[in-house]
């Protein structure tokens, strides 16, 4: 992952799935889904990141990401849904992917001409993570305490079904519509964190605050300070 040569398809896939895994850990830390002392500080993409130390959690994440990697090609979005205790989606961290070119299987390990180099890509990932770590400034504090949970939702391209359905049991289950981006109301607010065009697969990370969350925040704001905003409160 540290060469100046342009990426191959497989490298891109590997890089993206690796990033998604790192990012999921960071999201869980940043959004305080689990207590902060569960996480350990590490360095990845030349930037500090937080990684869960809980083996079961790690296994779940890496398993999910592996399944994502298997589906990659068909995947439109990978969504990390932050839910409250009523299983209502509050925030959706959306990894959106778009395959730019079709590559024959024998060419998957061939450097794609004019594609991004792996060094550049990892710099992009650093920028993703830096912005992700700052996301609280945009989203405000999620004061869910122990009620928060999360889920990983896979949104496939239209008319696609997961390849791994043939496995027994299939790793994926149908998602709750409210958790998905298509279930988002028009009032949901989207914050685009970062996007990158590798020339092979385009990746972007966006955070969507659901209407329910905004409503909740508004209610909270109303109680405390009808005019103030969450982030101002935090200061």
């Amino acid at each position: 992952m540290t060469s100046n040569a342009s990426l191959t398809f497989n490298q891109t896939v590997k890089g993206i799935t690796e990033f998604i895994e790192v990012a999921i850990h960071s999201i869980l830390y940043v959004r305080q889904i689990y207590p902060a002392d569960l996480f350990i500080r590490r360095k990845k993409y030349d930037t500090p990141v937080f990684q869960s130390r809980h083996p079961a959690l790690n296994e779940y994440i890496s398993g999910a990401v592996k399944a994502v990697g298997e589906e990659l090609g068909n995947v439109n979005k990978v969504v990390v849904v932050i839910k409250d205790k009523d299983q209502v989606a509050l925030e959706r961290f959306i990894f959106s992917m778009r395959n730019m070119i079709e590559i024959e299987s024998y060419n998957k390990d061939t450097s794609v001409q004019d594609a991004m180099s792996s060094i550049t890509l990892s710099q992009y990932f650093r920028s993703f993570l830096v912005k992700l770590n700052m996301i609280e400034s945009q989203l405000g504090l999620l004061e869910l305490h122990d009620d928060a949970s999360f889920a990983i939702v896979l949104e496939l391209k239209d008319d696609m079904s997961p390849q791994s359905f043939s496995q027994d049991p299939p790793p994926w289950i149908p998602a709750d519509r409210q958790h998905t981006t298509s279930g988002a109301s028009d009032d949901a607010q989207l914050h685009l964190v970062r996007a990158v065009d590798t020339g092979i697969i385009s990746l972007s990370l966006a955070v969507q605050e659901s209407e329910e969350k905004l409503q909740k925040m508004k209610d909270l704001d109303g109680e405390l300070d009808p005019k103030g905003k969450g982030k101002e409160r935090a200061v």
Partner: protein
């Protein structure tokens, strides 16, 4: 050995009740019947009284007589001692105590036995059965009672009951004469012997090895039951001289002339030690001499299947060879003597008798064929030149023999002269339908190896001599060396070819062994064949010492001569027999060995006649006698019918005797034995055999099998060995000038149930065999005899099984589908040869006319520099003439059919039916074989040529190629000019031509097809499947070599989303500015907002701007990022000036339109409008709306 019984061991039978503690105590000290007497004696004195108790309780386990016998007088003491025990034995059984009842019954029986023992005279009593515990099952001769008495009398334990669980450690043997099938199964793992064992042991006064009396299931015991009309299933010849047969051993009596079918009569005393129906020894009646057919029992030292093993007397398939095991444990020895040794194959073949025989046979066949060729070619020489070296060679060694043969008989040379004539007439005569007078002779040496060996060892004549590898005392009594040949004197002892030396030594301890003398055999054999050739019309070499000759014309001539003689002299003479005697005499003179000759009208009968003739005689089986001779025979006496056929006949027809089978209908035979076999048998029994002598049967395969000494430790050794074998095979192929197209690998793998070291020293033992076949070809796809090719193919096959190399016991490589090296040299197999030559001037002239045609039809075509061949092809089809495109031919000597998908269906359908069929077949063939069968020539000279009934295939392939060209409009032709630039396939016309690709057609193909075609063509050019793979990788990974600039396939091209452009009129007229970067767009928007501080924004600008932003969102996520950044900046700008009206949505009245409020509100409205449009675009992708916080 005197191990005390553990209490835990007492729960041996479910029938027994719980053991009482006092008995336990007794058992601790008790002694078993199988214990050694030395240890027993002192113990017996002390525990004697308790032994009895124990014996009553645990009747089967203990032998009460042991103590009594060792201590005379102890019995009385025991009787008085065991009063209270008697109640345990003789007391009334309680209800429901069946176990107790049985226990008591056993105890009583043992006491009875004991009494029996006592009643007998204790003095000098035999102890030979001591330690034996015997159970008798079924009907026996002598009766159970007698046997019981016998057992007890000689110190054994008689077991009245067979308890499966408890008996195992105690019971040693089961005696029986006949068992039911179920019991045979039950007793499978027990030692089952026949009662003769005990009877004879008792008679001999010593315990004979029970193995010689193993009960063999399947043999009915008619003899013992007094029914002896039927022949038993198994008639086993003697293996061991019976110890009891001290009585008058019959002198070996061999009457060669009268003996029925050459079965050596066995001394009666040796007979039947294996025979299950043996008469009871008590019966003093002399046995009827049984006719033993030697073919039932298989004699070989190293059988490969259990079926075979079962037919070999004394062969314990499951027994490991201890010597071999010991020796194999030594790595040095292993390295030097097994297949792991580097020179193993060489050594193997140097010593392999079978190898020599088969090689010679091949040589002889070749010589015979050569000789016949010369004869048929009408050579005037007295002897075919091919034979001359033989004679001179033999003369030098068999100097006197040759001379004797030459001048000892004037006839010989005359015959030789006549031979040519006869043979020539025979050359024509081969086509003659059926000659009623046909005379076939079967000539066979009598014990060839032995008689050959005896030439130099006259002192051994008349003694039992065998030929085998093992010499003298070497290998000792345990030698497993196989006997290849045995003298008649040795056969008298029952020695058979194929036996191991070990077995032979048992039969005849004084047996003499002589070594193989391959050189001698060869010389004799050549001599033999030379003589036969002088007389024969036709000759089939069966083996070195055996040949079939057709002597019809020789016999006819003799008959003629006889008829010319005065009647008195000629009358009784049989010309055929005379000729045979002459041949016999000549061979004897020349070689010093005896030959037996059978004469008959066909091959089958001749072979049968030879049996009568043996040894050293002739026998003419005339048609009248055929039935008489055949009737007493058995199926497997006929040549071509073996054990399995016999078994089938036995099962399905109930008879194996030809006389009986003769009564069966042809249909019945076919049903039972299969159509082919049945029919052949039906005819054979009637003396009909339509087979011809196979003097010139073409060679079908060349092979190399080694199944001796194969012991690998790892795959490396196995691989090295395979390659060595491949060398051997290759050498043999080259010897016969052949190449093969198919390879079969035969593997013998140790049967999982067989011991690691089989009974035959270094042999293969019982094996599972596996065969696999694969097409064989060199990298060019041709038949090959190259050792590397063969080795690689064979090794790949072996690897595909994934066997443990340690388990391998035999390897055979066989090459089939042979092609002559000289014949197939210039052609590619599977490819025919084009019959036409390159046409130069005529073609050009024609081409001119073709061009003219085109010009008429398509005037536009004149613009094209290069004539499009596909179009021309169409014209050619129209004229239907065999016109060649000279230029194309010059460039493309070899051509290929386009892939089937590329074929123009219309043209294809329009082809003549036969051509179409041919092409279809070709495509079919290709779809079957993974490797493209068209080998591309490595040397440019070797042009693969195709012969398709004189039709120009090139033309066809051109027609079959996609026919786009004819459809081209002139406009499309313009594409040619852009070709190199647009195609992305960097290649030149020259290169394409070299690859037989038409540049024009190529240019018109879509890029994908171009790539595919180019790769295929290059691949074919460089040849081979492996390189195909490499090329693909080459193209993607490796750097290009300068000589192959086109090899690289263009890598996939990245596609970046095209960012929409924000265009703006430049300061100068006509100048247009394009902005894509976020900063630039932000700057534009800033100048826009600042420029319209005093006016509301122009709606056209707003629309234009919103369109750009929406496009940006739609283009990619990074575009959306840009849009958001721009929007945010816009928001900042607006807030800077008009914050107060941000959430003011009310309409502004016209009056205020140009006030700050009006302008601010207009800006905000524009912003909201744009935001709304952008949100819609973003919602499509993510849902919700964009946050600009």
């Amino acid at each position: 050995m005197a191990k005390p019984l553990k209490p835990s061991g007492s729960s041996s039978s479910d029938l027994f009740g719980p053991d009482d503690p006092e008995l336990m105590e007794i058992l601790q000290t008790a002694v078993l019947s199988g214990d050694e007497p030395i240890e027993r004696l002192p113990i017996a004195t002390t525990v004697h009284s308790t032994v009895d108790t124990a014996s009553r309780k645990r009747s089967r386990s203990f032998s009460p007589k042991l103590s009594s016998s060792s201590l005379p007088g102890a019995t009385q003491a025991k009787d008085s001692d065991s009063v209270d025990d008697d109640t345990a034995v003789y007391g009334a059984s309680r209800f429901g105590q069946f176990g107790e009842y049985m226990r008591r019954k056993r105890a009583k029986l043992q006491i009875q036995n004991e009494n029996l023992d006592i009643n007998d005279d204790a003095e000098g009593k035999s102890r030979i059965f001591q330690g034996l515990s015997i159970y008798i099952n079924g009907f026996t001769t002598p009766s159970v009672q007698d046997l019981r008495q016998l057992i007890v009398k000689h110190g054994g334990v008689f077991q009245p009951y067979l308890d499966k669980k408890s008996l195992v450690p105690f019971r040693t043997h089961i005696l029986t004469c006949s068992l039911t099938a179920a019991k045979i199964r039950d007793f499978k793992h027990m030692k089952v012997a026949r009662p003769e064992w005990l009877v004879e042991s008792a008679a001999a006064g010593t315990l004979l090895p029970w193995r010689d009396y193993i009960f063999r299931p399947g043999g009915r015991v008619e003899a013992s039951q007094g029914i002896s009309t039927q022949r038993p299933l198994f008639e086993l010849p003697p293996l061991l001289p019976k110890p009891t047969a001290g009585a008058a051993k019959e002198a070996p009596l061999v009457d060669t002339s009268t003996q029925d079918l050459n079965v050596p009569r066995t001394p009666a005393g040796q007979q039947d030690d294996f025979v299950t129906q043996q008469m009871p020894p008590t019966a003093s009646t002399s046995r009827l001499p049984l006719e033993i057919s030697p073919s039932r029992v298989l004699y070989m030292t190293d059988p490969a299947t259990y079926e075979e093993a079962a037919r070999i007397p004394g062969y314990a398939a499951n027994k490991s060879n201890p010597l071999a095991e010991r020796v194999m444990a030594n790595p040095d020895w292993r390295a030097a003597h097994t297949s792991a040794a580097p020179d193993f194959i060489e050594g193997f073949y140097k010593n392999s008798r079978l190898h020599h025989l088969s090689t010679w046979k091949a040589e002889l066949k070749n010589l015979v064929a050569q000789a016949q060729e010369h004869v048929e070619g009408g050579e005037a020489a007295v002897l075919p030149p091919g034979r001359e070296p033989i004679i001179s060679a033999s003369d030098s060694i068999w100097g006197h023999g040759g001379e004797v043969a030459a001048d000892g008989e004037e006839d010989v040379s005359m015959k030789g002269a006549e031979l040519v004539m006869q043979t020539r007439s025979k050359g024509k005569g081969k086509e003659r339908a059926v000659d009623p007078e046909k005379v076939i002779m079967h000539c066979d040496f009598d014990c060839f190896f032995v008689s050959a060996g005896l030439i130099s060892r006259p002192h051994l004549r008349g003694k039992p001599v065998v030929v085998c590898h093992s010499q003298g005392a070497q290998g000792g009594a345990a030698s497993t060396s196989e006997i290849a040949s045995s003298s008649y004197e040795a056969r008298v002892f029952g020695i058979k070819n194929g036996m191991s030396l070990q077995q032979a030594r048992k039969l005849c301890p004084g047996i003499m062994t002589i070594p193989y003398e391959f050189e001698t055999y060869r010389q004799i054999s050549l001599q033999f064949y030379t003589i036969l050739m002088r007389h024969a019309d036709d000759l089939q070499a069966v083996s070195v010492d055996e040949a079939l000759i057709e002597v019809t014309s020789s016999v006819a001539r003799r008959r003629e001569e006889y008829s010319r003689l005065p009647v008195s002299e000629a009358a009784p003479k049989d010309p055929a027999q005379d000729l045979a005697d002459l041949i016999r005499f000549q061979v004897k003179e020349a070689t010093g060995c005896e030959v037996s000759i059978g004469i008959a009208e066909n091959i089958q009968l001749a072979r049968i006649a030879t049996r009568r003739a043996k040894p050293a005689g002739t026998f003419h089986l005339v048609a009248a006698d055929v039935q008489k001779v055949l009737e007493p025979l058995d199926i497997d006496d006929l040549h071509g019918f073996g054990y399995s056929t016999r078994q089938k006949a036995k099962e399905k027809l109930g008879a194996t005797n030809l006389g009986e089978l003769l009564k069966k209908s042809k249909g019945a035979l076919c049903d039972a034995l299969g159509k082919g076999t049945g029919e052949t048998l039906y005819k054979a029994m009637r003396g009909i055999d339509e087979r011809r002598l196979e003097s010139d049967k073409p060679r079908k395969s060349v092979s190399c099998d080694i199944n001796y000494g194969i012991r690998f430790e790892n795959n490396e050794q196995a691989e090295a060995f395979i390659f060595q074998m491949a060398e051997e095979v290759s050498r043999r192929l080259n010897n016969v000038d052949m190449r093969g197209r198919s390879l079969t690998l035969k593997i013998m793998k140790r049967d999982p149930s067989a011991p690691v070291e089989p009974p035959k020293f270094m042999g293969h033992g019982i094996c599972e065999t596996f065969n696999k076949q694969t097409p064989l070809s060199n990298p060019q796809g041709r038949a090959t005899s190259d050792n590397k090719d063969i080795g690689e193919h064979a090794w790949r096959l072996l690897k595909s099984w994934n066997f443990d190399p340690k388990e391998l016991r035999g390897i055979g490589i066989q090459i089939q589908k042979l092609e002559s090296t000289s014949g197939g040299d210039h052609y590619d197999p599977g490819q025919a040869k084009l019959p036409f030559q390159l046409l130069d001037t005529p073609t050009k002239a024609r081409k001119g006319t073709a061009e003219a045609d085109i010009t008429d039809d398509h005037p536009e075509a004149l613009n094209i520099d290069v004539e499009p061949p596909s179009q021309e092809a169409v014209v050619l089809v129209d004229t239907a003439g065999p016109i060649n495109d000279g230029s194309n031919f010059r460039n493309s000597p070899s051509l290929d059919l386009p892939s089937f998908s590329q074929v123009d269906k219309e043209v294809f359908d329009a082809l003549p039916a036969d051509l179409r069929k041919e092409l279809e077949l070709e495509y079919q063939r290709r779809s079957h074989s993974p490797v493209p069968p068209e080998p591309s020539p490595v040397v440019p000279d070797a042009r693969p040529k195709i012969l398709v009934k004189g039709v120009n295939v090139k033309r066809i392939t051109q027609q079959l190629a996609p026919n786009n060209r004819t459809m081209l409009s002139p406009k499309k032709n313009m594409l040619f000019t852009k070709r190199v630039g647009t195609s992305g396939m960097r290649t030149t016309d020259a290169e394409l031509r070299k690859l037989d690709i038409d540049p024009e057609v190529f240019a018109l193909l879509p890029i994908e097809l171009q790539r595919e075609q180019l790769i295929t063509a290059r691949h074919l050019k460089s040849g081979g499947l492996l390189s195909k793979r490499k090329i693909i990788k080459d193209g993607t990974r490796q750097t290009r070599s300068p000589s192959f600039p086109y090899r690289k396939k263009p890598p996939p091209q990245a596609k970046h989303p095209q960012p929409p452009l924000l265009k703006q009129q430049g300061k100068e007229k006509g100048e247009r500015l394009y902005f894509t970067e976020t900063d630039d767009v932000q700057r534009v928007i800033e100048s826009w907002v600042e420029g319209f501080q005093e006016y509301p924004p122009n709606q056209r600008d707003v629309d234009y701007f919103s369109k750009f932003l929406v496009q940006s969102v739609d283009s990619a996520d990074s575009g959306m990022e840009k849009t958001i950044a721009v929007m945010k900046w816009w928001l900042v700008l607006l807030r800077r000036d008009w914050t107060i009206w941000e959430h003011e949505t009310s309409d502004v009245d016209k009056a205020k339109r140009l006030t700050s409020e009006g302008i601010g509100k207009a800006w905000w409205r524009a912003f909201r409008e744009v935001k709304g449009k952008v949100d819609v675009a973003a919602r499509k992708r993510f849902g919700g709306s964009l946050s600009l916080k």
